[in-house]
Symmetry: C2
Subunit: 461 residues, 2 copies
């Protein structure tokens, strides 16, 4: 069966993937062009949900996975979007301008013509290429379906022994969640420190110490050899595991696009231009399946985050809706928490700066989130990286307690504005004793980085 | 007696005013040029303190005014600065390059030669020009000495009936402090809404409602006629008052400079150039006594805030110390809280924008500080003003609860970078459910402002 596309009177937009970026694009395009026929195919049962909330359902802060759903397929249909849950796109035919789809419940396959196509297929958790990692006790945390499976499994086993493989953001959040459930949690990380992909080692060490304070066993520098259904085997020994969670990051779901002949870009994510157009006419991509431009490194990157997905979806929606929008890019901002420890970063880490070829100086401070004399002033550690010479900002990292992490947004904004540390230290940031010391920790770190830039100048002159 | 200046072998810097800006300048200059002789004259007993903390001593969050002292005269002397508390500068003689000073405890007057001079004389609370406002029961809250007097008075009277005249930041903070002490508090404000000088009326209304919820009687649109020692007389009637606090803002202490022939600038504050130089050779000014450049209105303004004072003091210190530094200016950022209500603003309000001649559109949103499904997601209201046409950001205001106000810093940074609302809405701000919704409230407001800019375009095209 073929549902015809351009031959019909109305133009049809097909969206593959019913989460943040896809449904944002669908909703905006429909709002701007009510005559547009919009069909959205989602292989899972849910649409428009917050996958980032899964750890908080596991940990009990949020009562059910359904709470994470922003808009159901029914709600989308009420807005005039033909949202089809449990329908998986299996192929894209660019010549015939058709998508091949499988109705999973109805067990039938059909073809769907399109005039414009949005690919928003998301990403899939990385699995280590070692034996046993396809076992049903090994969980990824990417879709809401993943979250529901993990929760059911956790409830069944009582979550006695949990091993998290990979100490990235998801790894930390899942570790915290299972600690809250009363499980014994071990985190295994191949790198010599936690959060090695995003934070510098001395900042990562603070996070690891916080994990250990909360009873999480952290094994850094330990490689995974396999899982036998009862224990994880690593270079460092055997770790009993009733349940294993993957925290090794994700790979973009770009195979469908690639097989159709659409060009891939950075890290095998779908290549897009500034308007989120792929290499194929009338085919757009947004979200975790596609690349983004990094405004500090000036390179294409693959950063799978809900914020980026939403912004890219908005840009696609406006463009498909007949408007004009571009997505300028990202600066690599991320935030998470581990119990009472808040962790944030933006821009480039030392490792990333070096990879791009930058040299850098650092400014580091220890301060408090409020005036030191004010009740509940919490510790905050800020590190800023800047270029020697002109002092152009390169990146920043924060580890602290309540009120610390969101300060990273000032630094993300300053990076976007291409500020120097001198621009940064003059910023008119808000101050009152319940909110900050008179020199906000961000400004104090900027002063230290400025000192480092001056010393570098003196040293070299 | 004259302590000689330039005739001596070493160069002498005299600093008038021993608080934030003066002592920051003194300390930095001394650090950069250890051979410099530095004398600091402070008419009160304390140096380098946080006057902003006074309301929290009154309210009991901080145990004593001494806790607000960052560095005592003794500590400054240990750093090689001749810090003289209870010494008041009474005249500046630019021809002879001498300061006339009075040793208040020793009851003697002397003259002090200088090579360079820093004027950091601060500001004085405005008093309404009506009878009875010089009564000892009427308190300003500007110096730490003011704070100590107010605290002693409050302890003596039991603070039964307190009236605050003026509903600006200080007025709000003092009102909260006396509510915490169990006093019956009335705030009298001549303008039709609280915070009228800094917030738009509908945002001010939220703050007033919060004040009323906390049992503060708020009388807006009511002018003060006088104080008879027992009651405040206003257009609206008589208000019994055991204690009156001034919250009408401050006037710069620029008389000393003016009498010496130094030019005044905006609002009779001391005029300064980008390096904080006054019109007199070798004479600098910093802090609440001098003006600053407003980066949004492009006008000189007088904004008496500790953050500005510290930054200007740093710039003076570097320049006196033989370095080169400029103070680019302010964007008018301010923050405060009233019990659990947080209030922040930056840039221009509607009134200020209109005064400068700008037209504006507004974006307003109601959202939450965390993901809506996450525990303790608190309400936050954000308003953004932008120019029609290009969408250049003009200002922003936030009223909300825990975690709301500090978000103003992103907007202050964006204003400094001269961002448009489109630049703003693409910002790569941090997101995780415990910290923000996937569209941070700042970005949501930017989207609304962007919509308003688009509609204005459509309307006019």
């Amino acid at each position: 069966m073929v549902e015809p596309g351009s031959a019909a009177l109305t133009e049809r937009l097909v969206v593959i993937g019913g989460d943040a970026s896809g449904m944002t694009a669908a909703s905006l395009a429909k709002k701007m062009r009510p005559e547009l026929e919009v069909v959205a195919l989602e292989k899972g049962p849910w649409t428009s949900y917050s996958a980032c909330g899964i750890p908080y359902v596991i940990g009990g802060d949020v009562s059910s996975v359904e709470d994470l759903v922003v808009r159901t397929p029914e709600q989308h249909r009420a807005n005039g979007i033909d949202a089809r849950a449990m329908h998986e796109a299996t192929a894209i035919d660019l010549d015939r301008r058709e998508v091949e789809a499988r109705d999973i419940d109805g067990a039938r396959t059909y073809r769907l013509g399109f005039d414009q196509l949005v690919i928003a297929t998301g990403a899939t958790p990385r699995r280590p290429p070692v034996p046993g990692f396809l076992d049903e006790k090994v969980h990824g945390v990417q879709t809401l379906d993943d979250g529901a499976h993990l929760l059911r499994h956790a409830e069944k086993i009582g979550a006695d022994r949990v091993v998290v493989v990979g100490a990235g953001y998801i790894g930390l959040e899942i570790a915290e969640a299972f600690v809250k459930r009363g499980a014994r949690v071990t985190v295994v990380e191949r790198e010599p420190e936690v959060l090695a992909a995003t934070m510098d080692p001395e900042m990562g060490a603070r996070v690891r110490q916080a994990m250990e304070r909360h009873g999480i066993e952290v094994r850094v520098g330990d490689a995974v050899d396999g899982f036998d259904g009862k224990a994880l085997h690593t270079a460092g020994g055997e770790i009993p595991a009733d349940l294993v969670v993957l925290g090794l990051g994700v790979v973009p779901n770009s195979t469908l696009a690639n097989e159709a002949g659409i060009e891939l870009g950075a890290h095998d994510a779908i290549g897009v231009d500034v308007r989120q157009r792929t290499s194929a006419e009338g085919v757009w991509a947004a979200g975790d399946c596609c690349e983004a431009f990094h405004l500090v490194s000036n390179r294409k990157v693959h950063i799978a985050l809900g914020t980026v997905a939403n912004k890219q979806g908005r840009v696609v929606g406006i463009n498909v809706g007949g408007g004009y929008a571009t997505f300028p890019g990202v600066v690599g901002t991320a935030v998470t928490k581990l119990c009472d420890t808040e962790i944030a970063r933006t821009g480039l880490s030392e490792r990333e700066a070096t990879q791009v070829g930058f040299r850098f100086v650092a400014g580091r401070i220890e301060s408090t989130t409020r005036a030191g004399y004010y009740p509940d002033a919490k510790p905050i550690s800020v590190k800023i990286l800047a270029q020697p010479g002109g002092g152009e900002l390169l990146g920043a990292q924060i580890v602290g307690e309540e009120g610390a992490a969101k300060r990273i947004d000032v630094l993300a904004t300053a990076l976007t504005a291409r500020f120097t540390v001198e621009d940064l230290l003059h910023l008119d940031l808000s101050y009152a004793p319940p909110f900050a010391p008179v020199w906000d920790p961000v400004l104090m770190a900027a002063r230290k980085a400025w000192d480092a830039v001056q010393q570098e100048r003196t040293f070299r002159s």
